[in-house]
Amino acid sequence: MTGPALNFHGVSRHYGPHTALDGIDLDIARGQRVALIGPSGSGKSTILALANGALRPSEGTVAIDGVELRSKTHKQLVAHRKCCGLVPQGGDLVEQLSVHDNVIVGLLPRWPWYRVLLSRLRVVEEKRIAQWLSKVNLASRQTSRVGELSGGEKRRVAIARGLIGAPNIILADEPTSSLDPHIGEKMAQLIFDQAEAQESTLLFATHWVSRARRLAQRIIGLRNGRVVLDAPAEAVTDDDIEQLYAGSDERH
């Protein structure tokens, strides 16, 4: 099934006095693979949280397949979230659980309650998770506790967890930060391949512009909560990027 279309209309989001998003309009087509770039604090994470149905827009509307988020009931919102695969920026892993149990969390939302309970009492889905762990180069770490892993390994656990449920929408928030270039490349490729194979809608926030231009279909550049660049990946020029990051030190 192709992932849903996402429509942002005049969306702003304030955190107290701070404005994270300032009246943006975006239409993301079904199954489109989009890279969000821009300096830190430009609103990338906020867009992902809005698309996830986890954050209320201060102004404007966010619609998923034409249905506005705020008109959905709690139940419908949960149903939408179940279609989302998340790779959050902080990782958000449960340190006390093993790698295996953390990845299984990606499958839980769609399971009935007795299966959820059972999965804490005995090992389930061992093969499937092993398969995913080998995709993120963690095959030998299945039984380790997450607390013992390095930062880069944790990122990869989070990636496996986000992708394992074959989500319709993949929301990846700088999934390759704190990874070495080689592994980072591989992981980014994995996420884009997965999205392409499943025809999922992908929002991929990153600082790694060159990679984004190579993998994504469309590049959206954000600055100070505004969309300043929105073009097909092949149409983006070095000058555009220069302009987007002008006056800011960051950039890969």
């Binding site: 979230r81 998340l86 958000d92 449960v94 093993s98 969390v105 839980l108 939302p109 309970l117 999965s119």
Partner: protein
Amino acid sequence: MSGTEASRLRARSRTRTWLGLLAGLVLTLASWLETGADPRLLFDARGARQAADILGGLLQPDLGGAFLWHTGRLLLESIAIGVAGVSLALLLGIPAALGAARSPQLVDPPGTPTLGHRCRTVTRWVMRGLLSLFRSVPDIVWAFIFVRLVGLGPLAAVLAIAISFAGILGKLYAEHIEACDPQTVRNLRATGHGSVSVFAYSIWPQVRQDWISYGLIRFECAIRSAAVLGVVGAGGIGAEIELSIRYFEYEKLGTAILALLACMVLMEFGSVWLRTRASRRSWSALAMLGIVAIVGLDLPWSELRGIGQQAQILQRMSGASTFSFDGTVVRRALDLMMETLAMAWIATVAAALVASLLAPLAVRSLTVRGYLNDPPRASRPRGWLSLLGLRGLLQCLRAVPELVWALAFVVWVGPGPVAGILALGLHTLGLLGRLFAEVYEEAGSGGLRQLEASGASRLAAWTHGLLPQTAPKLLAYGLFRFEVNVRATATLGFVGAGGIGDAIHTAISLFHIGDLVTLLLVLLVVVIIIDAVGYQLRRRLLRHAN
């Protein structure tokens, strides 16, 4: 680590979990057999009628002006006893803690230990022994002993609370000192600071917050204790509760218990409020309150001078020689202690099980708020019902002290261990329910936010987010409750609810010092062993958690 090795390791850890569960189950069954508790007693027709009568009294309390005034005064007296007791306990406990604690030292300094060092070591062990004695003898035993020595009234209760709480606070405060960040202390020691400056500039700033908040918690516990000590004639509202049960005046019982409930609930809010604003001012406020309470109670201090004489008189009256270690007494004491342990175990396990299942329904994040910061639609109106309802229920359960529950259950199911188990279980459920809910509330929201954002059910949030983060803590707290409950169970016999307390009560009443010492020694030794084992287990659990 190779794959097979890893899976063997995991298999071993799973096996350990199952073995632990099995051991717990066997222990519970064995305990059940040991107490010979018969749950059918609950449904005995006559007992049920009595229970209905008590409930009727609670629903239709005596609200006559005169009795209400009387109840209010007794309640105030109980509060004053608690405040005065804790104030004295702090005066005793803080110096004792300083003596008993081993603050962080330099790792391996050159030079030989001086005489002063050796003296400190001796003092430390003496202090630790003394504190351990103070807290291991339950407060109601102290109270009853003091009632015999200084007469009926609040003085006995104040002394009892001062001594037993000094034991608890001294131990806790010493632990806080020992848990200080060693590096900061060593830095000062390494630059030649004396003990006063080490305390003032490194230890005090680190322990201050803990000392205040634990002091305040104890303050609350002391008032609860004070309300109970009246059962043995040491003043306050406990005396009224005991009398009204003995004379079947359930309307008066209703009034007294409701007043006690209201007081406890108010105090809980009060102490939460105080704890969040703990500051230098709360020390001075506490000190002022203590002075007011001690002055207001107008305690007959002169009685203290007559203690030795009174003890001799009682001794002569009892006709027993000073120390007669009798084999049969020891054996009986051991038997009763086993029963006590079994009761405490059953009640704690049952309460912990129910509490861990109920607690998620009393967690704000799980019932009403969720873990997302500002989701489009968050409120779950039905959640409020379970949240507030359950919190209220748990509060009522824990606001009534075990001994008062026991008084009521003895009327319902008759004297014996069943009454004790029920009393202990209900009170513990109230305590653990709240504690577990707090543990759940404080769990990091990292994994939980992710779970909710991907649409997982609240059950999944509990099993895969909360439980793995908190399970060792829950177990450790449950274990700690068991240790505390062993002491509590030892007092339930004072009202006929089984265990070793009955024998202790008789020994004090008749002033059979020999028997009393034997019984208390058995109690102390067992409590110390349980504490030591429990401490090791808890430490391993919590280390596993971090």
